[in-house]
């Protein structure tokens, strides 16, 4: 069984996990997005704002800091929770296709949309368990608010995914398409889903969900540094805190790239035609189109971050937790419901 082919594929997949859509890619692009977000918010407040690489400095500084484990904390959960959270997040990134590049092209698909929805729960639960393990009352309140935020975001997110599955199912006539790559393939062939009437409210709802899911400004009641001293992360310092900040940044990347995969899948095909028009063929064409597509993805993610996270951060004030819950379960769910019903009756 240890044939050379096995080794090359093993190496390839190791590369996928550690380099491209995996750890390194998430690390760099995630922190980049976070830096751009902080810079944009500052510019909107007519400030100069930190350098784009500021999150990198923050991360490496935190790695250099001393980690204090409070006496009341249970040590193993305190140390392990950040690692598990980050690992789960990186794995989710593997499942999100980059236009027509997929990590599991020939293997049976590992996870579809509903599964990704639940995989997104693991980082949230890891933060909560980590915070709860410290035993601080601030973390207790942070945990209560984080869970209500997760509850609030879950309903509309589910509806958005169901409506996308139904809409693509209608078009392909197979009733339902749960697999994300199926959705992207459809969009590659028939143009981005955002073009459909029924998908516009869903896309809007998804845009409103991104800041909520990542816990950014208006919806960061769980990590409100003014009211409950950074809530769940009140007792964290040093490397674990750095990993939590990193997973927060990677989550921004994951959600924006999920949005791109769900609604803007069609943009990738343009690159194919371009590469073909230029006359490149074979492996070179593949590599060039891949690089171009990755660039487009990163650009789209940056634009999405600017629109959904930075702009909303600069313009709004932090919501109370019950306002947040009511906002998500009425306004955003309404939008998602509209598209669900539209998709249902075959528009």
């Amino acid at each position: 069984m240890f044939t050379p082919a096995f080794f090359t594929t093993a190496l390839l997949y190791l590369g996928y996990i550690l380099i491209f859509p995996g750890f390194l890619f998430c690390f760099v692009i995630g922190l980049l997005l976070c830096g751009i977000d902080r810079k944009a918010v500052a510019r909107m407040q007519k400030r100069v704002g930190p350098p784009i690489l500021q999150p990198f400095y923050d991360f490496f500084k935190l790695c250099g800091k001393e980690t204090i484990v409070p006496a009341a904390a249970s040590r193993t959960t305190f140390m392990l929770a950040p690692l598990v959270g980050l690992a789960a997040l990186v794995v989710i990134q593997l499942f999100i296709p980059v236009f027509n590049f997929r990590v599991f092209r020939n293997l049976p698909e590992v996870a579809d949309m509903i599964v990704i929805l639940y995989l997104l729960l693991i980082p949230a639960v890891s933060v909560m368990l980590g915070g709860a393990a410290t035993g601080s009352p601030y973390a207790g309140i942070g945990l209560s608010r984080e869970m209500v935020t997760v509850l609030a975001v879950e309903l509309p997110l589910v509806m958005v995914l169901l409506s996308v599955a139904k809409a693509v199912g209608n078009e392909l006539g197979t009733g339902l398409v749960f697999s994300l790559s199926g959705v992207v393939d459809y969009q590659a062939a028939h143009g981005s889903l955002i073009g459909h009437i029924s998908m516009i409210p869903a896309a809007l709802a998804m845009l409103l969900i991104i800041p909520g899911e990542t816990g950014n400004h208006p919806f960061d009641a769980a990590e409100a540094e003014t009211e409950i001293c950074e809530g769940l992360l009140a007792e964290y310092s040093g490397a674990p805190l750095g990993i939590y900040k990193l997973s927060h940044a990677v989550k921004m990347l994951t959600l924006t790239s999920l949005f791109v995969a769900l609604f803007l899948g069609g943009i990738g095909t343009g690159v194919e035609h371009l590469v073909a028009a230029v006359g490149l063929t074979g492996a070179v064409a593949g590599a060039v189109s891949l690089i171009l597509q990755v660039l487009i993805l990163v650009l789209l993610c940056i634009v999405l971050t600017l629109v959904t996270i930075s702009f909303v951060h600069a313009v709004t004030a932090r919501l109370k937790i019950e306002q947040l819950f009511k906002y998500y379960w009425t306004v955003v769910t309404g939008l998602a419901l509209i598209s669900l019903v539209l998709a249902w009756y075959g528009f």
């Binding site: 500052a42 350098p51 500084k61 790695c63 001393e66 950074e230 992360l233 009140a234």
Partner: protein
């Protein structure tokens, strides 16, 4: 290489934690004004943090009253290494006009080694930025000194 990178970024992303030890709020609003668009300390990486656990630089304002002494010392102790203590204004440095009163527990330097003092009864924001930049240099040395 990695150690040098950490050292470099320790200087570049200092997070502040502000302790008001009975100040008249003159220095407090001046410290916060440092983060406003006109002076924008965030340009240099400064950020106010909610808990001492996340802090690198502790900024103390006010003449350290009897009531606040124990709390100030406890909070400072909860800040992880490498840390810097910056006193802002004359009060923490000498007790200023309140010196000798029964209510204040004397200058902060009696209890804790103060790294940088920004003098001025409400120092100008530019002076505060100078003080904080000086503190980041000290932070960098402390980080280099750590094993």
């Amino acid at each position: 290489m990695f150690k040098k990178l950490i050292e470099e970024s320790t200087g570049k992303s200092p997070w502040l934690f502000h302790i008001n030890a009975g100040s008249c709020n003159g220095c407090d609003i001046e410290l916060v004004s440092v983060l406003t668009p006109r002076y924008d300390a965030e340009r240099l990486g400064f950020k106010l943090s909610g808990t001492p656990r996340h802090a690198d630089i502790v900024v103390v304002t006010g003449p350290v009253t009897q009531q606040s002494l124990a709390r100030v010392l406890r909070t400072i102790e909860q800040v992880p290494e490498p840390r810097c203590i910056v006193t802002m204004g004359s009060c923490p440095q000498s007790g200023n006009v309140f010196r000798g009163s029964y209510a204040i527990a004397g200058p902060l330097s009696k209890y804790v080694h103060v790294d940088v003092d920004v003098a001025g009864c409400t120092p100008k924001p530019e002076a505060v930025i100078d003080g904080l930049v000086k503190a980041t240099e000290i932070l960098r040395e402390k980080r280099r000194a750590m094993k």
